[in-house]
């Protein structure tokens, strides 16, 4: 039933990079559903493919990478087969994106006002004066002090937190249905991070925008998201409601991630780490990708890749431990 009302549905997405050393399957068969008006988290270590997934939605993946398979259904319309020209009508308007480095994501030679107005003028048939008005308005909404003055400021005159607010403003100014946030707070101080997250939640509830929140910080996920997808080495390993995931993590990888958060409650014990390293995508092990690091590895894990198993309640995990056929034997 949810299939029909999902805002964005990614089915079997594969984005590969064709490098000199070989074909890198950065995203290798990913299914994600983002419902209307919700905040979905996409979590994983560096290099697991979460950013590439996000960029694939918007067709922003540059050479030598490209989408090789799958569908990206936005309100039922497949984005994966669209041309860049068609995508340009959607980018910034129906789907927008903010990035990790506020320091460098704004062009240093133009004023912030002009850069945000550019987004308005691209998609809406308004005069320059009107665009300026709306820009100042959105500055006010995202909490930039003295918005009229700030219109003619240059990026280097603003702090990191303010620049990220500008980015959010630029992303929200055309009232998108979906905003993709790729690690927006990773480069910011903790206090500023809290403010930005608060702002995002506020905008989401006021304007009904869905947010795809990409991060490696589980704290952010707990704070902001309604559902979570956990990715590893190009595939989704687990998916559940946020409360369910934190209370009852099923996949050994998720388990490991949650356990890796240092316990500040005073009990002095050795820091838990998931042993081993993220695999080299050019030389993936046969069988389950997580197997070499998994504490619950079984013989079958070295021979086949598990499918995503349904555990009820919208909770899914990619692990043979939940494969009734295998475990039944």
């Amino acid at each position: 039933m949810e299939q029909h009302t999902d805002l964005l549905e990614i089915r079997g997405l594969k984005t590969h990079f064709f490098t000199k050393q070989g074909e890198v399957p950065a995203v290798d068969g990913v299914d994600i559903a983002i419902p209307q008006k919700s905040i979905v988290g996409l979590v994983g270590e560096s290099g697991c493919g979460k950013s590439v997934t996000a960029m694939s939605i918007m067709h922003l993946v540059q050479h030598p990478g490209r989408i090789v398979a799958g569908q990206v259904l936005f309100n039922g319309d497949d984005l994966a087969v669209k041309s860049i020209r068609e995508m340009n009508k959607i980018r910034g308007k129906d789907i927008s994106m903010i990035f990790q480095e506020p320091m460098t994501s704004l062009n240093p030679v133009y004023t912030i006002g002009r850069q945000v107005s550019e987004a308005i003028l691209l998609h809406q048939n308004v005069s320059k004066a009107e665009a300026k008005e709306r820009t100042i308005e959105i500055f006010r909404k995202v909490g930039i002090p003295e918005p009229e003055k700030r219109y003619s400021s240059y990026p280097h005159q603003l702090s990191g937190g303010l620049r990220q607010r500008v980015m959010i403003g630029m992303a929200m100014v055309c009232n998108p249905q979906l905003m993709i946030a790729d690690e927006p707070t990773t480069a910011l101080d903790v206090t500023i991070e809290a403010q930005i997250l608060h702002l995002m939640r506020q905008l989401q509830s006021e304007q009904g925008t869905s947010i795809l929140m990409i991060t490696h910080n589980l704290g952010v996920v707990a704070e902001l998201c309604d559902e979570v997808y956990v990715m590893y080495a190009g595939k989704v390993m687990e998916h559940a409601d946020v409360n369910e995931l934190f209370a009852h993590p099923q996949h050994p990888y998720t388990f490991g991630l949650l356990n890796s958060i240092p316990d500040t409650s005073g009990t002095k014990s050795r820091l838990y780490t998931i042993r081993g390293m993220v695999p080299n995508l050019l030389k993936l092990p046969k069988g389950c990708r997580f197997c070499p690091r998994c504490e619950k590895a079984m013989k079958i894990c070295t021979m086949q890749e598990p499918e995503l198993q349904d555990l009820g309640n919208g909770h899914q995990a990619r692990c043979f431990l939940f494969d009734k056929e295998v475990m039944g034997k």
């Binding site: 959607i90 980018r91 062009n107």
Partner: protein
């Protein structure tokens, strides 16, 4: 920004003085008595002594230097040894506009060829077109100016007869020399433009521009180009310096009476005041050019302008 300009001007002055001193030492002090050098010891010692006294050449070198600088600031660079009636400053002023015409024409050629080539190369990076353009640029840089001059003379003037071989009395006489001089510089401009544009395209704000829905041509023209053109402005200054060197060649071969040509003649004729005047003038031009480029750069880059 004003303080920036003032600082730059103040740094430029000691450099200029340093150059003048260096040239002065090299030309007036090292070779010994200029009178002797000029007259090649043929003349009668009494005449030499007389001239030496009249030209105040017996004074210690720093006094002569001071006098020279003082005169120079008033526009007096002395009298040419060879053309005994002509003032050096007048000779320089007569020759200078010709060099300017040549250099500007050459710059126009170099930029008209180089910048589009560099942009195409960067946009079509990795393609055959890119490789061809870049190899051509490298060839252009590797060709000695005098050789290009002679090659072009042979092909365009002699064989095809489209353009005059040499001389300087009209617009068409400027075309071939401008092309020759501009040719090798177009190569380095193309390479620089390509590098700068590629670097600009790697920046995060390009990704932001695309994510806004801007079409690729606008991404390049509006966002990437402006950022990559700033180093090109600085490059312009260095090019002018190089062009004066190249102009020496071009003027000599095409018979253009410019600054380079009179410098070479001065060397051949051992005409010390002229040599001194023209080299100092050239150096001053370059320092001025660098200064202007720096100031222009600071106008373009808001990070310097608004701080």
């Amino acid at each position: 920004m004003f303080s920036y300009i003032v600082k730059r001007v103040l740094t430029a002055i000691p450099i200029l003085l340093g150059i003048v001193l260096l040239i002065f030492l090299m030309l007036q002090v090292v070779p010994g008595n200029p009178v002797v050098v000029m007259m090649k010891e043929k003349a009668n010692p009494a005449v030499i002594a007389n001239l030496t006294e009249r030209m105040h050449l017996n004074d210690p070198w720093y006094i002569r230097f001071g006098r020279y600088v003082w005169d120079a600031m008033h526009g007096d660079f002395g009298i040419s040894y060879k053309m005994k009636n002509r003032e050096v400053s007048k000779m320089i002023m007569d020759a200078f506009p010709n060099t300017v015409k040549l250099t500007i024409a050459a710059l126009v050629v170099a930029w008209a060829i180089g910048i589009p080539a560099g942009i195409i190369s960067a946009v079509k990076r990795g393609s055959i077109l890119d490789n061809v353009v870049m190899t051509f640029s490298l060839c252009g840089i590797s060709m000695p100016t005098f050789w290009v001059a002679m090659l072009f003379q042979y092909v365009f003037a002699h064989k095809l007869g489209w353009l005059p071989v040499s001389g300087f009395s009209g617009f068409q006489y400027l075309i071939l020399p401008a092309f020759v001089l501009g040719w090798s510089y177009s190569g380095s401009i193309a390479r620089m433009t390509r590098t700068n544009l590629l670097e600009a395209m790697h920046n995060d704000y390009i990704r932001t521009a695309r994510a806004k829905g801007l079409k690729e041509s606008s991404v390049i023209s509006r966002h990437a180009l402006k950022n990559s053109m700033m180093p090109v402005v600085t490059m312009m200054a260095m090019q002018v310096a190089g062009m004066l060197s190249g102009a020496v060649m071009t003027e000599t071969i095409f018979g253009i009476p410019g600054l380079g040509r009179i410098t070479v003649d001065a060397i051949k004729n051992r005409d010390m005041p002229l040599l001194q005047g023209s080299t100092i003038f050239a150096a001053a031009l370059i320092i001025l050019g660098n200064l202007v480029a720096d100031i222009a750069y600071s106008f373009l880059d808001p990070r310097i302008r608004v701080s």
